[in-house]
Amino acid sequence: MRFSIIKVVFFKELRETLRDRRSLAVMFGIPLLLYPLVAIGISGIGVAKLKRAAEETRTVALLDAEGVPHLAKMIRENPKFKLAPDTSADEALAALKDRRIDAILNPPKDAERRALASEEVVISLDLDRSRTESAVIEQRLLKLLGDYEKWVIGERLRTRNVPDTVLRPVQAQTIDVATGGQRLGMMLALMLPNILLVTGMLGAFFPALNATTTEREAGTLETLLVTPAGRTELLVAKGILVLLSSFLTAGLNLVSMSLVLWKALSMIEAFKGVLDINATAMLLTYLAALPALIFFSAVVLVVGLLARNFREANAFATPVMLIPLASVAISMAEPAITPGILVTPVASTTVIIREVLTGHVTLGAYVLAFASSLLYAGIMVSLAARLFSTEQLVNPAWEPLSLKGLRKTAQIGRGPRRLPAIDEALILFVVCLLLLFYLGDVVGGPRLLPKVVATQILLVLGPALLFAFLGRYDWVRTFSLRRPGWPAIIGGVCLGIGLTPVVRYLGTFQDWFWPRDTESMRAHAEMFIRPLMEHPWLISAVVGVMAGVCEELLYRGPIFAALRRRLSIWPAIAASAVLFAAAHLDVHGLPIRTGLGMLLGYLVWRTGSILPAMIAHGLYDAAQLAYAAIMIRTYGSGAEGDIAVANLGSTVNLVQLGIGCLLTGAGLYLVTRRPIPATDPPADGLPVVPAADATPVAPAAGGAVPLH
């Protein structure tokens, strides 16, 4: 990588950005002007209103004033109140609704005499809460009534010759140990993560689109690609500028918002002198946000690379801009700091900023959140680099996010047999996910067996078959419906059984640093315990077969086939595995299910057939449930049984683990014995070239072609 090339391209991009008024408005205009103007406006209006509300005299109607003479006297002597002339209840209510008076106090008849006689008396306070000043009025009147109550109590005690100090045995005194910086930090923690991420993304938006979409539209990208500058060098130079814009915009917003909030709050009496800006916390906050800013900058670059023109880029970017809003919800929920939260995108940045601002952050948590965000940023940057490397980038007709595949599906029954396109596969996945989410609890009723069968057939397999039928997919190529050799079948069996103890052990290891939520663990165990007690082997067999057949036909069927057309084999295996794991709607189970999904995808590719993967998946699920059934028999169905089933990992012993590892190894050996079959089309997207034809062949067709 040549620094001289990167420097030349970077400064060209910088020059263009500085001449782009839109970029400058977003980067500088909003933080430097908008916040102060909004703060001035709000404080000007708000403070004036509060002041007016505090000083204004309130008119109160006191019904049956003769019955509460002392209360009437208190109202007359209070300069903040004015007693309305005597009136009936109906007239007073009408006056209240017309806003001629501010409140009505309605004591029962002879209230004061009865209260002094130790009766409990209720004085109702009628207010109009549709008025913005009603809170101030209520607060004042409740204080007045509180003082009246104290007078009544004092009179009661006096008649009994008891001093009123008996009512004050314990005095509470609140001491706030938080620093001014922590107090301000708590207020900032709600909105600051969101502000940082959104403004960072906005700051990156126009430079990213200028560097990608605009270059494609204007035809200048091609002029760059025919120079000696490598694609990586070009992307690094453009990426640096996009990042700098993002960092600068986010930084300016951080400083501006903090200063404005501090200044605005300091004008309020309650906060005078108790708030501070902690510079170190601000710096750590900014640092914590940097990986997330890199991530979102890369997201905007990807959007720019996928869009054919500026209008399309705007349309793609709009839903993407909503992602940082998740940080607002997370801030409000205030989740506990767990390793799981610290590796979850957006959530990790949000919670660590909160911890920094409130002065409770630990080094380990900070490092974990930073590292995980950096990892996701790296993945997104790789995706941007991969897209930038595709030679289709200079093709104005390239529509990576087109729905051409879906339009073909809509033709229903017409056209030749074909493979699914990536857009169809993703929509199929989303349809299944939504069906599972909304109907998963309803379909099949409350009993486990009918529920599993109905869910798998109607919500998993059904959509896959429907899409295949409507889209006229080639059944053999799409679902890998080929007969495998016996080694592959036996390998699938070995893997299905061998993985059971291995995965349990891995689960225990995961639980050690990322404990599962006990409530969901119990609920999951509960769903299976009773049915396993009644029909242990039937449940195991049916669930195994259903999951093995239906889920494989969906995830290693059209979804995998479509991904393989666009990606090389390992990214396709990984992507289908992630989708498979995500569809189970269980964040904690995501890593292990992804691993299993990758193994199953590998089986399909390596053997050219879906059958070994079905066998492995089905046997694995069946074995897990059979193991659970054995545990229930051993420990019973009570609390011990619940705990045993919920903690099955810890019941795996080394012998079982050893056998599991051996069987897994044997299974992998058996499925890799034979060479990769030459499926039609080639399984990894490369044309099959006989060894005798030694002509250099570049990867054909479709997917990203790495350029020099």
Binding site: E16, A218, L225, V226, P396, G405, K408, A701
Partner: protein, 260 residues
């Protein structure tokens, strides 16, 4: 300077089939000549030129440009060529002078040499009077001159032009053609694609007729006419493409007036 042998480029269509955009193109272009690649829309001209410019990777075949192998040493190829197409544009917020400086820097030209060369190219293409005006405020003809200047700022031995006069008016077209002729006179190898027969006849030293992804015939206009038994480039063009021309009149023939 340019030798292409059996160049092939295929794509995958949405149904998984293979579409050959270029199917074994073979051509030779020498220094000091203008080679016109002539063909109908969709013949494979643009794909061929983009492969030679290293924007696309050929599926198979070989090419040697200015002594460098296209597949083995693409960066050396890019250093040796200037490329301009009908779809390439200029940076809207840069001026012509800034554009030439930028591209000259990308080609590794040193500061002193770059400054002199930029002024030379600005003079050569008569851009000096608007050299400091932003590109988005230039007319179409001016922009095309800036594009051509950008393609040759680093003085490459080979210039590849993909329909450089597409959409231009006759005056600007003439200006561009004069500029292309001057490049050939300066000893550069110019490979130019066009679907305008008259342009090929006027400025090209040799012509290659491309159809269905293959170069169906190449040579001087006279060679092509002789080979196809026709009297002009138009006749040769249609003969090679396998379409009967609507008229194939020998030169000098007086046409009788239409009785109707």
């Amino acid at each position: 300077m340019i030798e292409v042998r059996e160049l092939t480029k295929t794509y995958e269509d949405p149904d998984g089939g293979i579409v050959p955009a270029v199917a074994g193109a073979t051509l030779t272009c020498r220094a000091g000549e203008i080679y016109g690649l002539l063909g109908p829309n969709g013949a494979g001209k643009t794909t061929t030129l983009r492969c030679l410019a290293t924007v696309l990777t050929p599926t198979s075949g070989t090419a040697v440009i200015a002594g460098h192998d296209l597949l083995r040493d693409p960066e050396a190829v890019r250093r040796s060529i200037g490329f301009l197409s009908a779809t390439t544009g200029n940076y809207a917020r840069l001026t012509p002078r800034e554009t030439l400086r930028f591209f000259g820097s990308l080609y590794g030209m040193e500061k002193d040499r770059l400054g002199a060369r930029v002024e030379e190219v600005l003079n050569l293409f008569d851009i000096t009077s608007y050299a400091d005006r932003p590109n988005d405020r230039l007319s179409t003809g001016m922009k095309q001159r800036v594009g051509l200047a950008r393609a040759v700022v680093h003085d490459p031995p080979v210039v590849i032009l993909d329909e450089p006069t597409s959409g231009l008016d006759p005056i600007v077209t003439h200006t561009v053609e004069e500029a292309v002729l001057s490049l050939a006179r300066a000893g550069k190898c110019v490979l130019l694609s066009t679907h305008a027969l008259s342009q090929a006849e006027d400025i090209c030293t040799r012509v290659g007729i491309i159809g269905h992804g293959r170069v169906l015939g190449e040579g001087t206009v006279e060679d092509l006419c002789q080979r196809t038994g026709t009297h002009n480039l138009r006749g040769a063009f249609f003969a090679l493409l396998g379409h009967a021309p609507t008229r194939n009149v020998p030169p000098g023939t007086t046409l009788a007036p239409d009785p109707h």
